[in-house]
């Protein structure tokens, strides 16, 4: 293999190219990125950067010297527009074509939007800087969507003194992801901080005055942030012979087609640890999956290893750091296994089938949560692991 193209120059793409070099690959690596910035970190966009605690230079994932050492053919500010599997060529927006022997797709996701003009989204450095300029004491911000991104942005905006309204279609924010009890707890934190949280509310469009709800009511705002999830960037791959379906469909090795792999937010792969296909939009997964894709791309067929991680994510909301391991969606039972929900110091465990499949902690020492990570990684039996006195919650 002499030519490898990695499309996407964020966390997953960067981890891919670093791993290729670390594993000894010395052929050409073309790294293509749609944004003009050198690879930067996205989680701080809705946290320290939005809060103006950090400036953009702190988000750089690597120094320019580190990047230079990778000896990349780096193409930034240019999107990939097509894949020609017959000639094994990637087409770029500037008209150039890049041939490959191996390829990794790491094009990530983009924010879902709502009808109407003028709303902010929060995905890129530019998005975050634009929103930050508009947040000041007394400004009225409507955040549509109380998922982790919307909740973090709302928390920061509130701390900056903005008047924040948080609109959420579900009855309890994040209930589908973390369960009703934890969802309630996170919701209460918003209300305690003076955010006007309205659940069971559907926004139909963004208007000049603010947003319009399904019933016709308009919620007025100076600024609107739409944080209603994201869409994988797979359109450029249409006609390229890959299976696309809420992401690039991959096997357990992260392979989508012979010598074509995917990693990060865009990859839907089969995770054998949980026996299901998943697409994970978490920072840590981007790095781990980029590394796995790079190794498997270089490995002899018999030496490839399934990518079977325990997903991890964290979220900062006010004084709470939420940390979670595992695959929480589709859980069938939640139990408090350490600490106390009311004191905001706890670990809850999640069951699917007869296994411990997830754990989420707030305010607990790290060693406690690591034990639960281990339980998930070793496919621990629920009844043997969760003490009978653990309190079931919803």
């Amino acid at each position: 293999m002499r030519r490898i193209v990695v499309v996407g120059a964020s966390a997953a793409g960067l981890a891919t190219v670093e791993t290729l070099r670390r594993e000894g690959y010395d052929g050409t690596i073309t790294l293509v990125g749609e944004e003009t910035e050198l690879p930067y970190d996205r989680p701080p966009l809705s946290k320290q950067l939005l809060a103006a605690e950090w400036e953009a230079d702190r988000l750089a994932l690597r120094t320019s010297a580190d990047l230079a050492a990778l000896d990349l053919d780096l193409r930034l500010g240019v999107a990939a527009t097509g894949l020609e599997p017959g000639t094994r060529t990637v087409r770029l927006a500037d008209g150039s074509e890049v041939p490959y022997d191996g390829m990794v797709v790491a094009t990530g996701v983009r924010p879902r939007r709502l009808p109407g003009e003028g709303a902010h989204v929060l995905r890129t450095l530019g998005d975050a800087l634009t929103l930050r300029e508009r947040l000041s004491p007394g400004r009225r911000l409507v955040v549509v969507g109380a998922g982790f991104l919307g909740a973090e942005a709302a928390a920061v905006a509130r701390r900056l003194g903005a008047e924040v309204t948080l609109l959420e279609p579900a009855a309890v924010p994040l209930a589908h992801a973390v369960g009703t009890a934890v969802g309630h707890l996170l919701a209460r934190a918003h209300v305690d901080q003076g955010i006007d949280l309205r659940c069971g509310v559907t926004v139909t469009e963004v208007t000049e005055e603010g947003v319009r709800l399904a019933g016709g009511e308009v919620v007025e705002a100076d600024e609107v942030l739409v944080a209603v999830g994201s869409l994988p960037n797979t359109e450029w791959l249409r006609g390229g012979g890959l299976a696309l379906g809420d992401g690039v469909v991959c096997d357990e090795y992260c392979e989508a087609a012979p010598n074509v792999y995917a990693a990060g937010d865009v990859a839907r792969w089969y995770n054998p640890l949980f026996g299901t296909s998943m697409r994970v939009e978490h920072r840590t997964n981007a790095a781990e999956q980029g590394m796995a894709a790079a190794r498997n791309l270089l490995a002899a067929p018999a030496a490839r290893r399934p990518f079977a991680p325990v997903p991890y994510f964290w979220s900062d909301q006010y004084d709470m750091k939420v940390q979670a391991y595992g695959f929480l969606r589709g859980h069938e039972e939640v139990a408090v296994v350490e600490g106390d929900l009311a004191r905001r110091r706890f670990v809850v465990a999640y069951r699917r089938g007869d296994r411990v499949t997830g754990a989420l902690a707030v305010g607990m020492p790290p060693r406690v949560l690591r034990r639960w990570r281990q339980a998930i990684a070793t496919e621990a039996d629920w009844r043997e692991t969760v003490r009978t006195e653990a309190r079931a919650v919803s």
Binding site: D73, Y312, Q323
Partner: protein, 83 residues
């Protein structure tokens, strides 16, 4: 846009026989503990979860683990440099 970045490094010599230095920016740490999972002889966490270095120098035997920790750190808070 083709981007070239100045080459001020010597990565081809990395790790050949002499120890590398680990640098940790603790104020960037988000307490994920991923570094401990990757290299538990080199990293630990304090009670708030913030990463701690158990040693600043790593030889070839632990270099792979620390490189893994550098890669999986969700805050890009760890660097490996030549002393």
């Amino acid at each position: 846009m083709r981007v070239s970045v100045p080459d001020t490094s010597h990565h081809d010599e990395k790790g050949k026989g002499y120890p590398m230095k680990v640098e940790l920016e603790a104020d960037k740490c988000v307490a994920s503990g991923q570094c401990v999972v990757a290299a538990m002889e080199v990293f630990d966490q304090d009670d708030d979860g913030i990463a701690i270095l158990l040693t600043e120098e790593v030889g070839d035997d632990r270099l792979g683990d620390v490189e893994e920790a550098v890669a999986v750190c969700p805050a890009a808070a760890i660097r490996l440099v030549r002393p």
